[in-house]
């Protein structure tokens, strides 16, 4: 098992951990953090899989994808945090409202 595969498996582990927390945790900040951890997991997989040959130079294309992905993740997190603040301001609770209660 090469180092690259180890990183890739770790990435999948992070993805699964994040998915678990996203579903189980009710607090919105924890859900946002969970999504960020899932994102890091995907980026780790992309970076690890970029090393195609054990001794050759890594493939730069997945690295470029990761950089784009990080930009998207930062924007998404910013939007999520602003929304979270507005939700807390209007409802007083950092949770999703129950859709059936309206």
């Amino acid at each position: 098992m090469s180092v690259a595969v180890l990183y890739a498996v770790t990435g999948l582990g992070l993805f699964s951990l994040g998915l678990y927390a996203l579903i189980v945790r009710a607090h919105l900040l924890r859900k946002i953090l969970a999504l960020n951890i899932m994102g890091s997991g995907v980026f780790l997989v992309l970076t690890a899989l970029a090393r195609r040959a054990p001794d050759g130079p890594p493939d730069p294309v997945p690295h470029a994808m990761v950089i784009t992905g990080i930009v998207v993740a930062v924007a998404a997190t910013a939007l999520a945090l602003v929304l979270l603040r507005r939700v807390v301001e209007t409802t007083g609770q950092p949770r999703l409202p129950d859709p059936d209660s309206e």
């Binding site: 899989l49 929304l83 209007t90 999703l96």
Partner: protein, 484 residues
């Protein structure tokens, strides 16, 4: 010379709304005028593209070309989707001009976000590689969430938050699939992947991840839970955009990947039958939930859940009879886009007029807002699948495919779905004719808001009369592969 001129039109379809978004952000006082001007220009360019496109076009942005650069590709399927967003986009822009006239604070946020959303949408329909699809999908999702939150009520914010979480989860699942496909086959270009991909475990894993991510974003049953609160609590022009266009984008990606990468690998009947089954359940569950609703906008949102279900019937039927089923599905998607935009606009007029959307208290709307109710009824005809309308043609083609495939159970689902649609739409129309126990003060509705709803509704009838040119455009470049 002519060919070079044509190839610039797709680029304009992305850059015009982008420039419009930036200008309307900088010149906030003129945002509405800039936005409507941009919408007219994008509409004209989409029509010009439709009339000049004789074969699929590939445009390498910046002259780099694949695999390094970003390519734009337009074929019949992209073209129909671009026309759909151009028509609905122009209608919603005119409507929004009236709607936000009395709400200048909201208008300043609406126009840049909506034009940004349109940029992402056009970029998505023109994208030639799966990573570019990811970026446009995220841009689309983020601008859609911001638009959904625009109303600022607790319901709108909660709905938008749920929408954001689901949307990001869907994108990450999709991105993981992109990573696996790139690792296995060394390309993100859809056409190259179609040539190189082979049936192996990693392809199957990518198929599952991307499909789950995309049906989550398309709100296929049982992942539809986020759609009704987000679509129903948004401002009316935004509801129209979300229901008519945004959910179709993720379906488009799924269809594109399926047609070009996964279907040739024959992943087995299990996948197509499962997607068809979920689609059938969505038709039934969405329609029954729509029937139960007491609020007009929630009813229309659940109707979207049901109508999206029909699109997934294409998977098992196309496996049996080939491209005819996809023609039917695209026709249904197109008619639904126009009809649903018209319904949400008419509902928006009713909410603006009476100050509420309780169905039981619709106090003789038919006499007071005749144009809006006419729009509601005409768009309803298309949703029920009655002639002459685009919905009728789509369902007819779908029924034909189901009968040809000898799969009568889909026929039953399509017929029951149509009857349930009639039931929930007539429920609204019935209350619109009767006097309600509580009457309320009425607000004036700008005429442009009534007329745009009516024009889009009449558009669904035109779709029913103008079938062969549209199907000819859709067949450009043979996007659904060779028929049996």
């Amino acid at each position: 010379m002519a060919a070079e001129h044509v190839s610039l039109l797709p680029v304009l379809l992305i850059f015009l709304p982008l420039i419009g978004a930036l200008l309307s952000f900088v010149f906030r006082r003129r945002a509405a005028g800039l936005g409507i001007a941009t919408a007219v220009a994008v509409f004209v360019i989409a029509i010009a593209l439709a009339f000049s496109l004789t074969r699929p076009q590939r445009y390498p942005v910046g002259g780099w070309g694949a695999p390094l650069g970003i390519d734009l590709v337009v074929d019949g399927l992209s073209l129909i989707m671009l026309l759909m967003s151009a028509t609905v986009g122009l209608g919603v822009s005119l409507y929004a001009g009236g709607y936000f006239h009395a709400r200048p604070q909201l208008a300043r946020a609406f126009w840049p976000l909506w034009l940004g959303l349109w940029t992402a949408l056009n970029g998505l329909f023109l994208a030639a590689d799966i990573f570019n699809l990811y970026v446009t999908l995220e841009l689309l999702g983020l601008s859609a969430v911001a638009l959904a939150a625009l109303g600022g009520s607790a319901a709108a914010l909660g709905g938008a938050m749920r929408y954001l979480l689901v949307s990001l989860l869907g994108s990450l699942l999709y991105l993981l699939g992109v990573a696996l496909l790139y690792h296995a086959f060394g390309s993100v270009d859809i056409a190259l992947l179609g040539e190189r991909a082979s049936a192996q475990p990693v392809t199957l894993a990518a198929l599952v991840l991307m499909t789950v991510g995309l049906i989550l974003k398309t709100a296929l049953f049982p992942f539809h839970f986020w759609l009704p609160p987000a679509h129903a609590s948004a401002s009316s022009p935004v509801s129209a955009l979300l229901s008519a266009l945004v959910v179709k984008a993720s379906f488009y990606i799924l269809l594109r990947l399926w047609l070009e990468i996964f279907e040739p690998l024959n992943p087995g009947r299990g996948v197509t039958e499962l997607l068809g089954l979920l689609g059938a359940l969505a038709v039934l569950w969405g329609s029954l939930q729509a029937l139960r609703q007491t609020r007009l906008k929630l009813l229309i949102a659940y109707s979207t859940v049901a109508q999206l279900g029909y699109l997934f019937l294409g998977f098992p039927l196309a496996a049996a009879v080939g491209p005819a089923a996809w023609q039917a599905v695209i026709y249904l998607a197109l008619s639904h886009a126009l009809a649903k935009a018209a319904l949400f606009m008419a509902a928006g007029n009713i909410v603006l007029f009476g100050g509420h959307d309780r169905i039981a208290d619709l106090d003789r709307v038919v006499q007071r807002l005749p144009l809006s109710l006419a729009a509601f009824a005409i768009a309803g005809i298309s949703l029920m699948g009655l002639p002459p309308s685009g919905g009728f043609i789509g369902k007819w083609l779908l029924l034909e495919a189901a009968i040809e495939a000898g799969q009568w159970w889909w026929v039953v689902i399509i017929l029951i779905g149509g009857m349930l649609a009639a039931a929930y739409l007539f429920k609204v129309i019935g209350f619109a004719f009767t006097r309600a126990p509580v009457s309320h003060e009425a607000n004036a509705v700008p005429p442009v808001m009534e007329w745009t709803a009516l024009v889009l509704a009449v558009g669904t009838v035109l779709l029913g009369l103008w079938v062969s040119p549209l199907l000819a455009w859709l067949a450009t470049g043979n996007p659904f592969g060779v028929g049996p």
